[in-house]
Symmetry: C2
Subunit: 114 residues, 2 copies
């Protein structure tokens, strides 16, 4: 039998995870751009450990994955996440957070390491 859709318990846990302004915004941003911790620190004007701890929760849930590029670790949405469709449904209903990145760019604080 093919498992389809999301169980309600799982959904509740996921919504709880996303039910935090910082994490939700992070995930929305990650839907369009890979980012590293130091960028989020700038964007949210908060401490590095606070960001790392949010990232860890997202990673533990399987929602984001990491890839090291030199000095930096870049995070991105994990397209293989079991309930990726559900997450996308949600994210599509949210307003773009693009301006947060363009602001970063403007300040010359966007990291790119191609």
């Amino acid at each position: 039998m093919i498992k389809q859709g999301i169980e309600i318990e799982h959904a509740a846990a996921l919504l709880k995870l996303l039910g935090d302004k910082t994490r939700l915004t992070m995930v929305k941003i990650l839907a369009d751009h890979d980012c590293c911790v130091c960028e989020f620190v700038e964007i949210f004007d908060t401490s590095q450990p606070a960001i790392s701890q949010h990232i860890r929760k997202l990673k533990d849930a399987g929602l984001v994955k990491e890839s090291r590029r030199g000095q930096w670790i870049f995070y991105s949405l994990n397209q293989e996440y079991e309930q990726f469709d559900f997450v996308q449904l949600l994210l599509n209903a949210l307003p773009s957070q693009e301006e947060k990145l363009t602001e970063l760019e403007k300040q010359g604080k966007r990291i790119s390491c191609e």
Copy 2:
């Protein structure tokens, strides 16, 4: 300017509210049926104050409304809720909880007062 969609802060608060197994299931059930507290007490096999407190959170957020019918207070989704579309989007992605009500019915514990 017409306000459209949901702000990310508001969305986070809403997801947090729904990020609880009991509340999420309640809301999913209420999408199809009005229910009263004592029914939820049966369905979730939990205490009456616990249910009342969950209901209050949903009511405070504007997500559900109440109407007294005799001895009982029936709760239902508030279709006028500001972000009702967003909530519906979410609920539609969740599996039916219909069996919880049919189970109630079978036990003769469904309240109806027409």
